[in-house]
Symmetry: C3
Subunit: 340 residues, 3 copies
């Protein structure tokens, strides 16, 4: 898990007119784009409750799920989102070994492009892999980042923003705490960026000193090592999943010790505001990160997050395809004018 | 393979108005409901022969195949049935280990519910698992039992009933023999229940004494250990599949010995009525349970059963979704009246 | 990998009226049929560039991908082709061991037929397996050969023919060279047949003596062991993939030695005509069969081949279903007349 590719998200993600064209990371996107994503998701949230949960926006489009890292859960949410947009979906299991060399990966992708794919939904263990791919593909394909290394998991961050806006409203009045293994979390990084762009009053990171990276503080977050201090008066508590498989050494005490210090019990939740909401990206480890009575309690929005996640994925899928088509039409027109 | 959950099928399977809402087991269903399933299947049998094998009844619905026990064959029939009803299908491979605790299983299911799933088709090694799940899910999801432990395999039983009714007519005049490893068969249990509810004249179970359970006799079946006696004058012979993987010890002699005593040869078939039909749930073990000349002969309906199986699955899928929507509308209306 | 089934392709592939009914091998097909396939593919090539890449030709049809040999890439092209024809697709992973006996394989297939399948797309390690299956199935199923043993890979050959015709025109004026491991290539065999049927001026096979089979020369091809001689003045260079997994012994020197002698470098490409086109079935081994500068160069049509491959598969799928329906109607009519 290394940062193999230098990342310049600004130019790649947007069309010349500033429309979303790939969705790779929160960094480099404006408040207006993020709010457009949230507004678009709003229109899809209701679809999940209708008897026919389908709109024809991506009819005849081919969405390829390219998961270099296995994640049935995340893949399923993208598959459902694509189906509800009426797209055709191709799930490809790509072992990382088969594409050890960047060149071979590009051959694989160019082949999929040549088959007429319109979108790649990519999860990859290397930070920046999706940016690299996005910088290489033809104008016909949109790239959605479904998680890359420790770098970003932008659709998760946006569904969290959606949850916060829907249940707490105006970001400028909100204190938000993110709790747990910040260091290894691609979600936390994306969340801090999104909260700052959307103008949250205060973003706090809570965890053991060994799992609190400095560079997130630079992005605009306060660091806390004690729940008592960090949760004080917050409006939103976002618990992270313990990424056991991502930990290399002895950065962490035992699970029991972690729970005692950072597990969200109803007792610790009392430090927050009485109307604070509780979120978690799932799947939850009951009794490790969170007490069951909190996970299932009235302040928990954990299952709502799942529902909103489908809507957010439908939003970025439809927006990037629309941006990509607009860009292509623009280029075709430019070519015609140039040759006229 | 233990019976972990107490089962009370009566209330869970039906709406307040007595419509099918989940399809979990034959037990607890009335003759009217079983006949409605058979009649509904009738309307779907013809679809398989049309050039466009599709109806829009489940358009925009999401069907999730949750197979905790692997069975490509059964899963495929449900997948095809769902596709022909125009549903979107999500196949999930769920290793049993990942859901060892009931609580974790419920988290998984609640997540799938939150994604807007309309139906879970579930196969599980634990008897009663589907009943437990059905008692826990929200009003938005219908549960179909695709086989649980030794308990039930109700869609298989109903396709068998469909086959019998289509080819032999009135159940009240029929003697039916079920042959083989009755003890380990979830199909046999469901078949005996269905035949009795539909009013079969006589239900017989034939097998070695070690594989004949007492409790099925209580449900209304005669026990036989010799084919000569059990097959005498029957109208229908249903062979069971030898569930080798389900046998724990030395309940059975050799395969050759089993075939000699209970394999359906053309010679043994002569004990039955000349116009008796031969059925088998498949896949068949030629030369173990059945002689090839019988399996492929004019009395065999083994392949017809497969075709009818798609229609039966379409029937219970469309009926449960319809029942579930009706129940939900009723509840919404009740809520409105309560709050008015 | 043995030739278990004797092959008589002529009768099985065509209806009584000479329409395509299965697509098993190039052998036995007329120039007219091959040209009809190419013309039909022409109408589908443009679909891949439209915003809605879908036609309703196979709506309500069920296509089953039966890959006894794993090939994600080939399966994906058939899956996409089926989706763009609006068919429902069922992917089955069939381990070869589960169907060791031909009889058991036939039971599996008859079950899939009984489920209302309209088409089997089959890849199998045994030469002739698809012919055997096609000779056994009911009139309701069309068989497409997606590669069998060393025998044939006819959709690959046809997409190559499409590429040649689209970029070089009239076959009668073309010299075509096929380079590499001819002996183990099912593609080469199909290509030689197709080129001869379509009237190519000259077909050449280039490779080390140990990898040049005599029987292809009998089909109408000249054998060369030196690139300098074989590539001289050709219009088309088709590189084969090194089938390392197919080689039994020491037929081949090292990879480096192979590349030195038969790898397509820009230097060696100079022997061909200056406007020669370069093709490869993919996936390419850069630096083993072909130099990167050639693979990515202006004469290379490797990615075009992938696009055309979807169109060719859509063509044979729609033509065989149409042929199969016509045959069935004819038979129904004959039966009615016979009984009238």
């Amino acid at each position: 898990m290394t940062d193999v590719h230098p990342i310049d998200p600004r130019n790649v993600q947007l069309t010349e007119d500033g429309k979303l064209r790939h969705f790779l990371s929160i960094g480099g996107l404006s408040k207006e784009i993020l709010e457009e994503i949230l507004d678009t998701a709003d229109s899809f949230v209701n679809i999940g409750e209708k008897s026919v949960k389908k709109v024809p926006l991506l009819r005849g489009k081919t969405v390829v799920n390219l998961f270099f890292e296995n994640s049935t859960r995340t893949r399923s949410t993208f598959e459902l989102a694509a189906q509800r947009l009426s797209a055709d979906v191709l799930n490809l299991d790509i072992s990382k070994s088969a594409t050890a060399k960047g060149e071979t990966l590009m051959d694989t992708l160019q082949n999929l492009e040549a088959m007429g794919s319109d979108m790649f939904v990519i999860r990859h263990a290397d930070s920046g892999a999706q940016h690299f791919i996005a910088s290489q593909v033809t104008p016909d394909v949109a790239i959605i980042n479904a998680g890359d290394g420790r770098h970003a998991h932008p659709t998760q961050a946006m569904l969290d923003m959606y949850t916060i806006r829907k249940h707490k409203g105006d970001f400028s009045k909100l204190k938000v705490a993110i709790v747990g293994d910040i260091l290894h979390s691609r979600v936390a990084r994306s969340q801090v960026q999104a909260l700052n762009i959307l103008g949250a009053e205060e973003v706090r990171l809570i965890g053991p000193k060994t799992l609190l990276p400095d560079n997130l503080a630079e992005l605009g977050a306060k660091l806390y090592t004690r729940m008592e201090d960090g949760l004080k008066d917050v409006d939103v508590v976002i618990m992270l999943r313990l990424q056991k498989e991502r930990m290399d050494g002895a950065l962490l005490p035992s699970e029991g010790e972690f729970y005692r210090l950072y597990g969200l019990t109803s007792e610790k939740l009392n430090y927050a505001r009485p109307d604070a909401i509780v979120m978690h990206p799932g799947p939850i480890n009951r009794g490790v990160e969170i007490e069951s009575v909190v996970a299932d309690g009235p302040q928990s929005l954990i299952l709502n997050q799942v529902s909103y996640g489908i809507a957010i994925r439908m939003a970025v899928m439809s927006m990037t395809v629309s941006g990509q088509m607009q860009q292509k039409n623009q280029q075709d027109q430019n070519n015609e004018e140039a040759s006229a």
